[in-house]
């Protein structure tokens, strides 16, 4: 981990009509950090994540990536998106392609890699997530956990600098959560910068270098997992954790 910030959000807001979902987010993520974003449903976690790679356009504020203004007029959005990968709750694998092509198509069409290079890269990451045996299966033939692992391999194949996870285990059956979290833990220890919106408190506590607690569209607390889980400064954090952790046991 270095001190160099890679993603910086300043006073970010987002409204859907009259509904203000983000009310001024300030967040700085350094290279190599694993930041878990926790908070109640509707607190704006996913919206913030989707703003980072501009699947949602922020209403105001700024986003900087490696010091560059992402919302600027001449910013190359497509190149940026190859640098900021995303893993979705609903996997969003391409239904018309098999596992290998899912991981190859972006490399070839967006990065302009050769077929051989793209396939080699795809195979490397599919092996990393344990899905290399399934190269010719279609998404509909896979279980949820398998799909999510392929989705992670697809994102990694683009060689991103940052990987965003939008509740990656929330759509999975309980017995499949483990296989996906296992892959994510390995990625975290490999030094990849990750921002993870999650309801998995054990992941947030054990794997992340920092935990951000969001409440009502703002960052209510931003501290190490140690502090957040043991002696939170904000009473809202304590209240939230009390609620979810009580249910977990």
């Amino acid at each position: 981990m270095t001190d160099e910030p890679i993603v910086v959000l300043k006073n970010l807001t987002k409204s859907f009509g009259t509904n203000r979902v983000l009310k001024g987010i300030d967040l700085s993520v350094r290279k190599g950090e694993v930041v878990s974003v926790i908070g109640a449903s509707g607190s704006g976690k996913s919206t913030m994540l989707r703003c980072i790679n501009l699947l949602e356009r922020p209403s105001s504020g700024s986003i900087e990536f490696c010091g560059e203004n992402v919302l600027g007029k001449d910013f190359d959005l497509r190149r940026y998106r190859t640098k900021v990968g995303m893993v979705f709750q609903q996997f969003n694998l391409f239904n018309n392609m098999n596992v290998l092509r899912n991981c190859v198509v972006g490399q070839r069409r967006v990065l302009g890699r050769s077929k051989a290079e793209a396939e080699e890269t795809a195979m490397r990451f599919l092996a990393k997530v344990g899905m290399d045996a399934y190269v010719n299966a279609r998404p509909r033939q896979l279980s949820g956990g398998q799909k999510q692992r392929v989705a992670i391999a697809r994102a990694l194949s683009m060689d991103p600098d940052v990987l965003l996870f939008d509740e990656p285990t929330s759509a999975l059956d309980p017995e499949m959560v483990g296989e996906v979290l296992h892959v994510m833990k390995e990625l975290a220890s490999s030094g990849l910068t990750m921002i993870v919106v999650t309801h998995e408190m054990s992941f947030a506590r054990e794997v992340s270098s920092r935990v951000v607690f969001m409440d009502g569209g703002v960052v209510a607390e931003d501290a190490s997992p140690e502090v957040i889980f043991n002696r939170p400064a904000n009473p809202r954090t304590a209240e939230f954790l009390h609620r979810v952790l009580d249910r977990e046991v």
């Binding site: 969003n92 045996a133 033939q141």
Partner: protein, 258 residues
Amino acid sequence: MAFFSEVKKIWLAYYPQLFMGMGNTLLIALVSTVIGLLIGILVGIVRTIPLSRKPLLRWVQRVINFLLSAYIEIFRGTPMMVQAMVIFWGYAFLSGGTTLPLLPSAILIVSVNTGAYIAEIVRGGIISVDTGQYEGAESIGMSHFQIMFHVVIPQVMRNILPAVSNEFIINIKDTSVLSVIGVVELFTQAKNVAKGTFAIFETYAIVCVMYFVMTFSVSLLLRLVERLLEGKSTYTICGSQSDSASMIRITKEDAPND
């Protein structure tokens, strides 16, 4: 029976003419459905491009979208028989008497008409593709046209095939209205034969069967294509824990936990 002997007599005397008409009918319907499908896909894609954030570009998009909607509404909203007359004689009027050759005119009219219908079918197909497919593609940096070409349209094609088959079958039957401008397709030939023999019932009974043979064959053929587009229902797992060279063939469609 008198009916069957009359039918046989007409068939033997006129089958080359009727087959020639059938050939033209199939040619016009096939070529027009293909061209109409291309028009429809193109119009469907253009109409679903998200509006640009640049004011000038957004304005251009609005004008194009307006023109495309006008095209669809006009060609869906008027009878093809009337369109045939207006286009064919409109050209003759403007050019001072020269007319367009018949077969290309016929293909033009049916294509443009089919395009208007298929554009809406395609638009419906595009809308019905899960937004997650777009977001997944956007998140790895694909452009709108790349997303359309590699991800959305292949899924749309599979989903709209039954509706496009419908259009093809409708076209086979509706080319009959082109007899108003004198295109020599099956219906025109039927009229000619009926005029020559006065055996109107017998002639049209033959033609009825001929139309049905065409539409039913196309129906069966396209159902086969649909099945091919479904893709394989099996996949192979390469390697197992004990043997890296093994191939395990999985034949069930869905994983048990999905």
